[in-house]
Amino acid sequence: MNLNPLAIALQTALLLLLAPLVSGLIRNWKAKLQNRRGPRIWQPYSDLLKFLRKDMVIPEHASWVFGFAPYVVFLSALLAGLMIPMLTAQAPLSLFGGVLAVVGLLALGRFFLALGGLDAGSAFGGMGSSREMTISALAEPAMMLAIFTVAIGVGSTDLSRMVQAGQGPVWKLFNPTHAMAFVALFLVLLAETGRIPVDNPATHLELTMIHEAMLLEYSGRYLALMEWGASLKQLVLMTLLANVFLPVGIAPDTSPAALGVSALALAAKLLVLAAEVVLVETTNAKLRLFRVPDLLGVAFILATLALLSTFFFG
């Protein structure tokens, strides 16, 4: 194994460019389902550009953490993205770790996100951080167990090996073990990306916010990094869900034809996932905050059952 600078550069570009599009697509589809015209799917790019051009207002009492956190949030999501196979089975940075490293990097980003929310000293940020940590403490174990379910089948936590092992007849992928783990990870995706029924990304009510509450004090370049980081994290989790559970079409080599097929397959899988997110968001109200643990408890139990069932069905 070695590092391929070209692969790193290409996947970085793909992640950075695709992430806002996925967010925009979800927003646009959601609007369509609600009989609204909605923003263009390119709107998140314009937003990022706008934030990057704007001046920043830094809270008076903020420490270095406030300015440091956006970079950590952004880079940790990007690095995690480079560790998962997107188009080719071999992730550019798989050398540095498997699924544990991905989960760890996401946790690092979340930790600094919460610190950034606390650092400004506003009550809303503090509430957001506290809620975020509560939810992630429940979401993280469910996420690990769900991925371990697949890892046990393969005998490795290396994502590339997991993806390669999944190649073969498609019907083999639809066993009960995978289905339960998939649902568990999908619930985690909703929680981790601040979607209804856990959080409402479109609200203006500070008292109800989780993710947005931590960003309230951010502006300009920092806000751009935070927003970009959030959409990167969403793309990372969606790709993980798509490629670990349904590694169909992933390029075994780097021939243009294989890469083309792989790109189309990834796009199709992401579209389906985005549509699922949109459906859930449109048809559900947000859970009462103290009911969120119930939802994540379901995810955890499903993941546990999936893990146990590997020993029966595996």
Binding site: A202, H204, E206, R288
Partner: protein, 534 residues
């Protein structure tokens, strides 16, 4: 004493009161059948109120002062009590000598008087005695010590802001207890108000409200305006209740000159009041869903609301029904085409609204958020005098349209939904029931729309008449009390918006709930800042 001009239902009540408190009552004045003024000594007011509460099941609906030093050499304090069972108002009036500007607080017996008593203290400089919390209430903290509703305070006075700290919030202490300040400037297009939550984690221990950031001196302004302009001012008291406020004002002035609007005008007024109720209720139903992130329902509600607003414009020239009300009737008549358009709207809305309600009731995740959230217990609601939608969700079986038929509500039977659980779900349910009732009322009014003029000339208003105008607005009961002055003007106009009465209930309803449920609880009350601050 015998009282010939009182309605037969009020007569025994007034007679018994006069008998028991003969030493304390100077005189009884009855300008209207259902409106009795009892002029009494200040000392007997608590006794009179207690008697009326106990013997006649009366309730205090308004409390205000009037600077009558020029004419009577004293301030007058008014207590308006509604006797719903007798369909009448007993209004107690007590003089306060300028040499001893103070009065005794009733708040320990009648908690509903709290903010209104402090309002009298702030605006007239009449000191409250025995009030447990006599802090400033009805003026913002940067006002210096002035009494703006006294007659010797010039409307155009410019004041230097008060420097220093005046309103100290109570500290709430305990391990892990911290305070979350929200406002006064909020996200979204709403007016200012400060909410200070004391929380232990997510559960709310205590909520302190601070209103009156935008006191506009509306009541003072009425005294300087020619009467017809007063209607336009009344329209702007609370933007979402502009027709109800304007109609309450017109009602008061018409009663003062003993002129009744023609019957066609009264029917048109009633229809407009129902249209106002419709668009606000439907918007609120949607907004409650938005606050629990069920946006789909809100989008449908917005669509229905927009149809009503367009119908409003077609009928009155204004989406919010502004410019329709006028003294002595209404300004615009509706031709056959407009009536047909309204009938079509009602016919369309019925199934559309039913499907909106169906959508909400089929969403178990939405219902889960609304049920048992923000419970206002009936006994608390009664103590605080909570009125309107919020009251009716907590066992308050009153509606001025039924109990004090105004406009043309004597021509129809109004069904009043009453529930006792007092949670967000039931405040939503009251709205749903009232929307259905409003649609039915509009149909009934349209089916028997009488012919005739839509306006009478009320002429010059004679001085020194008093009258209470009342309207059941969509949010709750609205009162305008006027005293006329020479020159077709008003000496005093007291405006009572239901929001003023209901805000303190929010502090009770939030207790034991968690912080992220506050927005939906607040929305289920949907109180007006402007109507409160005036």
């Amino acid at each position: 004493m015998s009282f010939t001009h009182v309605s037969p239902e009020l007569q025994p009540i007034v007679e018994e009161m006069a008998r028991r408190f003969s030493a304390g009552i100077h005189s009884v004045y009855t300008p209207h059948l259902n409106e009795v003024y009892v002029h009494a000594r200040l000392e007997v007011i608590p006794g009179l109120c207690a008697h009326l509460y106990r013997a006649a099941n009366a309730r205090l609906v308004s409390l205000f002062a009037d600077d009558a030093r020029q004419t009577d050499g004293a301030f007058h304090l008014y207590y308006v009590l509604a006797v719903d069972a007798a369909h009448g108002f007993v209004i107690l009036r007590a003089p306060i000598a300028p040499a001893t500007p103070q009065f005794t607080s009733l708040v320990n017996a009648i908690p509903a008087a709290n903010w209104q008593e402090r309002e009298v203290q702030d605006w007239f400089g009449l000191k409250l005695v025995g009030h447990p919390n006599p802090r400033r209430c009805a003026l913002h903290d940067d006002w210096p010590e002035v009494y703006p509703l006294r007659k010797d305070f010039n409307l155009t006075t410019e004041l230097p802001p008060f420097q220093g700290e005046r309103h100290k919030f109570r500290a709430v202490e305990g391990e892990g207890v911290f305070q979350v300040p929200v406002g006064p400037v909020h996200a979204g297009i709403i007016e200012p108000g400060h909410f200070l939550f004391s929380v232990a984690g997510e559960p709310v221990l205590y909520l302190q409200l601070r209103m009156f950031y935008v006191h506009k001196g509306t009541e003072k302004l009425f005294e300087s305006l020619p009467l017809p302009h007063g209607v336009r001012l009344a329209e702007s008291i609370s933007g979402d209740s502009s027709f109800a406020h304007a109609t309450a004002f017109c009602h008061a002035v018409e009663r003062a000159v003993c002129v009744q609007a023609p019957v066609r005008a009264r029917v048109l007024r009633s229809v407009c009041l129902e249209l106002e109720r419709l668009y606000n209720h439907i918007a609120d139903i949607g907004a409650i869903c938005t606050d629990v992130a069920f946006v789909t329902a809100n989008m449908h509600a917005m669509r229905l609301k927009e149809r009503i607003l367009r119908a409003n414009e077609h009928l009155t020239g204004n989406r919010l029904l502004r410019g329709m009300a006028c003294l002595g009737g209404v300004r615009f008549d509706w031709d056959a085409g407009q009536q047909q358009a309204l009938a079509n709207l009602v016919a369309d809305l019925k199934p559309e609204f039913a499907s909106l309600v169906q959508l909400i009731e089929n969403s178990s995740s939405t219902l889960d958020r609304l049920e048992t959230t923000g419970i206002l217990r009936p006994e608390v609601a009664r103590d605080l005098g909570v009125v309107g939608i919020a009251g009716r969700a907590s066992g308050f079986d009153h509606d001025l349209r039924r109990d004090f038929p105004h406009a043309a509500y004597d021509r129809v039977k109004v069904n009043v939904p009453v529930y006792h659980l007092g949670d967000v779900k039931h405040r939503l349910q009251v709205r749903v029931d009232e929307v259905r009732e409003s649609l039915s009322l509009i149909e009934q009014f349209l089916a028997r729309l009488p012919d005739g003029p839509i306006r009478v000339d009320i002429g010059e208003v004679p001085p020194d008449r008093v009258a209470l105008g009342y309207v059941e607005g969509w949010r709750g009961e609205i009162f305008h009390w006027v005293r006329t002055a020479p020159g077709n003007r008003l000496a005093r106009c007291k405006v009572k918006d239901p929001s003023l009465q209901n805000w303190p209930a929010l502090s009770e309803a939030i207790l034991g709930n968690i912080v992220p449920d506050f927005p939906v609880i607040n929305k289920s009350f949907n109180l007006s800042y402007s109507g409160t601050d005036r």
